[in-house]
């Protein structure tokens, strides 16, 4: 086992709203090792982005961390009793790229000025040295003609190019962990592939760990070592990518994989998982997936615990059954 960098232990995030307390994340535990890529997948509203924000200390009112801790190499960053996280971890050791590259860059500053700011803050480089380093960064993310591009403004860049700039800024501080929150959702498929290739390349060059948040299983299969599947604010299954795609144990994971469109099966209709995720205002007492699960039985009414399996862990008392085949029959 490689060295553990980030460790999330029983994280709870709640939102106080006028309608009641919404429990967005309910006991998530995760670890990320050095040089590892972890995929965090789940449908909209399953709590993946909130988990990422909690890791970066970005939870603000109406949200709050209601339990658990996030530790970086053993140092607590977030959680009970942590008043102020140690400096120079967020933004330096851990950086983040966001979904929308259109709004994450300052429209009034040149790309060069913004990159040099990051370089100056984190590496202490100034003047020509900072500029050279900024140009190197642009080169590293595959932007040609870096010297000329440095003097351009964000509106002169396309969406894919801007996302590359965001990645360049994120790796400017030579971080050890990069959190990518749906980095390719706003981009078209060809650019998407390029960006993912770039992330994989940077990872092998810099020994970076990546947490990739997405709802696209294809991306996970292509890039990640391990996956954690989230549903209704909890992790329902984790494991190595290969085995999980081969033999998904949780009925929800099985349903997700079953509903992924395949190019070689274009004559079949897409199969969806019927129903909708539960509201988290009053979270279900037992398995959150129970109402949509084809193989739910009586014991599904009790809370499901993440139990280790051969390659990962799964939170389902009916794990391993080929749920959807049984359900269809």
């Amino acid at each position: 086992m490689t060295e553990t960098l980030l460790e999330i232990d029983d994280l709870h995030v709640a939102f106080d709203t006028r309608a009641g307390v919404v429990q967005a994340v309910r006991g998530v535990s995760l670890t990320v090792g050095r040089g590892e890529t972890l995929g965090l997948v789940g449908e909209s509203g399953s709590g993946k982005s909130v988990t990422a924000q909690a890791m970066m200390g970005l939870i603000d009112v109406p949200g709050r961390i209601s339990g658990g801790t996030v530790r970086w190499c053993g140092t607590p960053l977030v959680g009970e009793g942590v008043r102020r996280a140690p400096r120079n971890i967020w933004g330096r050791e851990i950086t983040m790229i966001f979904q929308n590259p259109m709004t994450s860059l300052n429209p009034l500053m040149t790309i060069g000025a913004q990159l040099q700011e990051a370089v100056r803050l984190h590496l202490g480089l100034r003047g020509a040295a900072a500029r050279t380093r900024a140009a190197d960064l642009l080169n590293a993310v595959g932007i040609s003609g870096a010297a000329r591009r440095l003097d351009q403004y964000p509106h002169e860049f396309s969406g894919g190019m801007r996302q590359r700039v965001m990645i360049a800024m994120a790796i400017a501080s030579e971080p050890r962990l990069l959190i990518a929150d749906e980095p390719t959702t706003a981009l078209d498929v060809t650019i998407q592939a390029q960006i993912l290739e770039l992330l994989a390349e940077l990872q092998s060059q810099l020994g970076l760990s990546i947490i990739l948040i997405t709802h696209d299983l294809g991306i996970v299969a292509g890039l990640c070592h391990r996956v954690a599947v989230m549903y209704a604010g909890q992790i329902v299954e984790t494991g190595a990518v290969d085995t999980m795609f081969e033999q998904p144990a949780h009925p929800y994971t099985q349903g997700l994989i079953r509903s992924t469109p395949l190019l070689d099966a274009c004559d079949d209709r897409l199969v969806a998982i019927d129903g909708t995720p539960p509201g988290l205002l009053i979270p279900p007492a037992g398995c959150a997936f129970q109402p949509r699960c084809p193989v739910a039985t009586a014991p599904c009414g009790v809370p499901q615990v993440l139990t280790p399996t051969g390659t990962g862990a799964v939170a389902c008392c009916r794990a391993g059954i080929d749920a959807w085949k049984v359900g269809a029959a």
């Binding site: 939102f15 106080d16 709203t17 006028r18 009112v61 109406p62 949200g63 709050r64």
Partner: protein
């Protein structure tokens, strides 16, 4: 009588939400008290605000050694009761302040919306109109109009409205022309909303919070402008009275009778402060996202207090 039953519940939920924010609740209560004071001035005022008594000149407030219970807040240079003048002055000051602000805001918002929404030549023409009006010295226009029409409360309201609408027009025009580019406004146009619907449903709600803020700031300005004009003899005419007029005329006695300026001045401060506290709350309440955040903050504060005890 089914109507009161139906209108009672929103009122109760309004009050209970207001109660969560103590400062705003106090502001609202003081505001209501001041309005009631103005409405019931004839009942409340201990004396006629215009009755002069040269024997009772420049009496200090009751807690001063030379003060007496006859005049709680003392008397002015003509022996008029300061407390009664403040109670009566609330009528004029509030009327002029509120009515002027509302009229000026209506003129300014309408023209600003029109300019921002139409853009192009309409925008240029209307905004140049604003520029001209802004560059024209306001006090000169006021003196000119009052000189022609004769002084009085309603002339003052008309004139102050005409000289104070430009700031609203500029603010509204700026917000409207930027909000107009927002995808949700374009989407509303694409699905076939008529301009009136776009303006009233999609643009106007965005203006609520900046307009509220500006209205409060302008209210103070209007109160002071009224004082200045009254001081020059072109505004409120004795025996009528207003807070501004009292502050302005008490200035001559600042060193021998501090209470002449202090109490009407305090009345202005308290009024503006209470409106401010309430308007701040109202602004947050009109923004669904901010409203949720405020709710979460009060919950967090309660939780901290419970943990501390």
């Amino acid at each position: 009588m089914g109507l009161p039953m139906m209108s009672f519940r929103p009122l109760r939920s309004f009050l209970s939400e207001l109660w969560q924010d103590k400062a705003a609740a106090i502001g609202f209560a003081v505001m209501v008290l001041i309005v009631l004071m103005a409405v019931f001035a004839p009942v409340l005022a201990p004396e006629d605000p215009a009755t002069q008594s040269l024997l009772q000149r420049l009496k200090p407030p009751v807690w001063d050694a030379r003060g007496s219970w006859d005049h709680l807040l003392g008397t002015d240079n003509l022996g008029r009761d300061v407390l009664s003048r403040i109670i009566w002055g609330a009528r004029t000051t509030l009327t002029i302040g509120i009515v002027t602000c509302v009229i000026a805001a209506m003129i300014g918002t309408t023209l600003g919306l029109w300019a921002g929404f139409m853009g192009g030549r309409t925008d240029s023409v209307l905004m140049r109109l604003v520029d001209i009006q802004v560059s024209f010295p306001g006090i000169l226009l006021i003196l000119l109009v009052v000189g022609v029409l004769g002084p009085g409360v309603w002339t003052l309201i008309a004139v102050l409205s005409v000289t104070n609408w430009m700031v609203y027009a500029r603010l509204v025009r700026g917000i409207v022309s930027s909000t107009r580019q927002m995808p949700y406004v374009e989407a509303a146009e694409v699905i076939g909303c008529r301009p009136s619907r776009v303006i009233f449903v999609h643009l106007l709600p965005n203006l609520v919070s900046p307009l509220l803020t500006l209205l409060i700031l302008e209210f103070t300005n209007i109160v002071l402008a009224e004082a200045a004009v009254s001081f020059l003899g072109f505004g409120v005419q004795p025996p009528d009275t207003s807070w501004g007029l009292d502050v302005a005329s008490g200035r001559d006695y600042l060193f021998i009778a501090w209470w002449l300026v202090t109490f009407p001045g305090l009345a202005i401060v308290v009024t503006v402060l209470s409106i401010n506290l309430f308007a701040n709350w109202l602004r947050v309440t009109s923004d669904p996202e901010e409203r949720e955040k405020r709710f979460a903050r009060t919950i967090a504060a309660k939780r901290r207090r419970r943990r501390a005890t």
